[in-house]
Amino acid sequence: MTETAAWWSLLAAPALLLAGAVLAVAGDALLAARAAGRPATVRTALRPLLEVPRLLAAQPRRLPAADRLLWRLGVVTVPVAAVLSALVIPFGGTAVADLPVGVVWFNAMEVLTWAGLWLAGWGPNAAFSLIGGYRFVAQGLAYELPLMFALLSAATAAESLRVGDIAQAQHGLWFAVWMPLAFAVYLAGVLAFSFLGPFRYPAGEDVAAGVLGETSGVDRLLLEAGRWLWLTSGAAMAVPLFLGGGAGPGLPGWAWSTLKTLAVLAVLVWVLRRMPVVRADRYVEFAWVVLVPLTLVQVLVPALVVLGR
């Protein structure tokens, strides 16, 4: 049974999440350096962290007729929602808040990002930025339903929406093993809601970085941090949902949680540079015609298993 942790975990959880995000950024920097023909050293890996002081020193952007309130609100929402989503994720056997509807909480925070990112696109009052914001909504229409069915598959198999229960229900056999499609769709969803890699369509190069295009300084730092925090949070959530949580031989639960999270994170970071950006107009078609029916069938499998038990 997952227990609720002490008050200080409220500080520890965001710190762990941030550490994971920094590792992901460092890994991405190493891959980028290898691709660009630069030596891959520790220094290479840490160089992206110079962004933090650089962006803190930069002048915030002021634009005519910008919707400043909603812009800031949107920018802040993305990282905050990422941190809030991590509160229900068990670390070993403890979670900050093991809600009875943990899966719904995670999903709700993820949908909150829709609002945040759309507002971040709307706020600057610039065409490409707004197009970026709308692109995320279009991308959301494509990835959200398959993602929800993937989450439902895990919840149905465990007969619970409590994340701790779902991790417990996988004793012996991970959900990733007998529900590989749900696992794959979930991982694609993680990339989609962190708008990274093949799913960075809202911040695509073709619209001059879209939602990110007009942000500078702290605003940009928050949005960039938000997407890497989401990637880490999504990777961490994959562990209790599909990879048996903290269960494993030899090591304590927290160690297994960490190892599995880092493994998922490594796979996600590796994928980032290896695919072109998936245009939402093409992905919507694929998602609704192929993925939604497939994930529906995927939900049906655990439902039948549970009924027959």
């Binding site: 350096a33 002021r62 619209v207 001059a208 300084g217 093409r282």
Partner: protein, 473 residues
């Protein structure tokens, strides 16, 4: 020192560089891209993300206002330099980084005319829009400080706010009729994007109560491709945009992100066009009677295709493959031998040419039949491809693989042989025809698809600005 010193050093250690190329600056751009890649200095996509504005190429009067507007949109601390030749690059970048690390200038914008390096960090509690430049420098262009050197080595100094509005051209804000009336084609809808703009006219007081709010025109309406009445935005595309043919400016009418109409403006004038374009240089030399080896032509053409592929893959958002293409391009220009290049080029061509994902994302866009290409005077790979975007990038890949095998060819280059973008037609460089067919291909396309189509034809800004090519009779 104060708290700002550390972050300033961080910005100087890894500044984001906004690289802008003027016509005739291709060689400098290539050198700059290589240097930025090897030194891990990220290229900024927009001025908002940039610390350094690096202008590669010779001075071009026609583009100067656009470059100045970009400069105005760079957040402080910032630095600016021009490198007319590849040799001037390391110096220019080094000076910019030194300026970024030097906190002295940060709070002293009023001293900027004394600052020989031309850093004009903006600040100002009075700044209401943009960076507050508008009020001070807004009208008349008199504020262009006169210490910009034209020898191509000196820093391109100045904050010159010629037009007093933001760098809309760069990232897609629409024009305000007041500031850009000349761009407005007669008989256009008279409707303007509500969301597009952040071109400021200065302050509130510039506009009476009767004017449009904030000096920004409201969106008008027009019929979309399905016959529905929707808002229209007027968005300038270019002259400077990441992975776009620099200097090429288009006026775009958008509904949502669907291109309704696109008109290209005349290529910029005022410098840079006197020498032959970098990519067409071997052919121009051969046409002038010089003896040029066919292998040299093949090398230049292969490098040009690798450059175009890098741009297309970057627009398609395939970071890994785009980097590979640009490394191959740099290796080709470094003079690597066929044997050294062959395995890498083959692997790259296989990976990109056979990518189902890329094919799925680009198929059916921008179909240009061989017949339509011939009618428009398009030659070269775009005409040979006879199809959509995948057909064109596969033609490039095939030509790249073929050319890499011919690098050692010592026979003389036939000047009538196709250059990277085709042969000369009507005595003009082939890129002009590519620009001619674009508006027809782009109408009704999503913005993302439109960008892919432009990148798949990849008109060369040098050729557009160059004097007509002499053809042998």
């Amino acid at each position: 020192m104060d708290l700002t010193a550390l972050p300033l050093r961080a910005a100087a250690a890894r500044p984001h560089v906004l690289l802008v190329t003027t016509p005739g600056g291709t060689a400098t751009r290539l050198a700059a891209e290589r240097q930025l890649r090897l030194q891990d200095l990220p290229q900024a996509r927009t001025p908002a993300d940039a610390d350094v504005l690096l202008v590669a190429g010779p001075e071009c009067r026609g583009l100067r206002p656009a470059i100045d507007r970009l400069w105005q949109s760079l957040p402080a601390p910032r630095a600016r330099a021009r490198a007319a030749t590849p040799g001037a690059l390391p110096d220019a970048l080094e000076r910019c980084r030194a300026e970024l690390a030097e906190p002295r200038g940060l709070r002293h914008a009023e001293h900027r005319h004394e600052n020989p390096a031309g850093v004009g960090p903006d600040e100002g509690p009075d700044a209401e829009f943009g960076n507050g430049r508008d009020e001070r420098d807004g009208d008349g262009g008199g504020a262009h400080d006169g210490h910009e050197r034209h020898d191509g080595h000196g820093p391109d100094g100045g904050n010159g706010g010629h037009e007093g509005h933001e760098a809309g051209e760069y990232h897609g804000s629409h024009d305000s009729p007041g500031s850009h009336g000349s761009h407005e084609s007669p008989g256009s809808h008279g409707s303007h994007g509500r969301h597009g703009g952040h071109e400021s006219h200065g302050s509130h007081s510039d506009h009476g109560d009767s004017g449009p709010p904030w000096g920004l025109p409201m969106a008008g309406q027009g019929e979309d491709r399905d016959g529905l009445t929707l808002d229209q935005l007027h968005v300038p595309l270019g002259p400077f945009l990441a992975d776009w043919p620099d200097g090429l400016a288009a006026r775009l009418t958008l509904q949502g992100d669907v291109v309704q109409r696109l008109e290209f403006e005349r290529p910029p004038v005022g410098g840079g066009g006197s020498c032959p374009p970098f990519w067409g240089e071997p052919w121009a030399r051969a046409a002038a009677g010089e003896r040029v080896a066919a292998g040299e032509g093949a090398r230049r053409r292969a490098a040009a295709h690798a450059d175009s592929l890098g741009r297309l893959l970057a627009v398609a958002g395939w970071a890994g493959a785009a980097t590979t293409a640009r490394r191959l391009r740099d290796d080709l220009l470094d003079g690597a031998s066929s044997a050294e290049l062959r395995p890498g080029v083959r692997r790259f061509a296989r990976r990109v040419g056979r990518s189902r994902t890329l094919y799925w994302l680009t198929r059916g866009t921008g179909v240009l039949t061989a017949e339509a290409a011939r009618d428009a005077g398009v030659t070269g790979p775009a005409a040979r491809a006879d199809g959509d975007v995948p057909a064109r990038y596969r033609t490039w890949l095939a030509a790249l693989v073929r050319d890499v095998d011919r690098l050692a060819d010592r026979t003389p280059l036939d000047p009538a042989e196709d250059g990277p973008r085709g042969g000369a037609a009507d005595g003009r460089w082939p890129s002009a025809a590519l620009v001619r067919v674009l508006p027809g291909l782009l109408e009704g396309a999503e913005l993302a698809a439109a960008r892919l189509v432009v990148a798949s034809l990849d008109p060369d800004p040098d050729e557009l600005a160059a004097v007509p090519r002499e053809v042998d009779a």
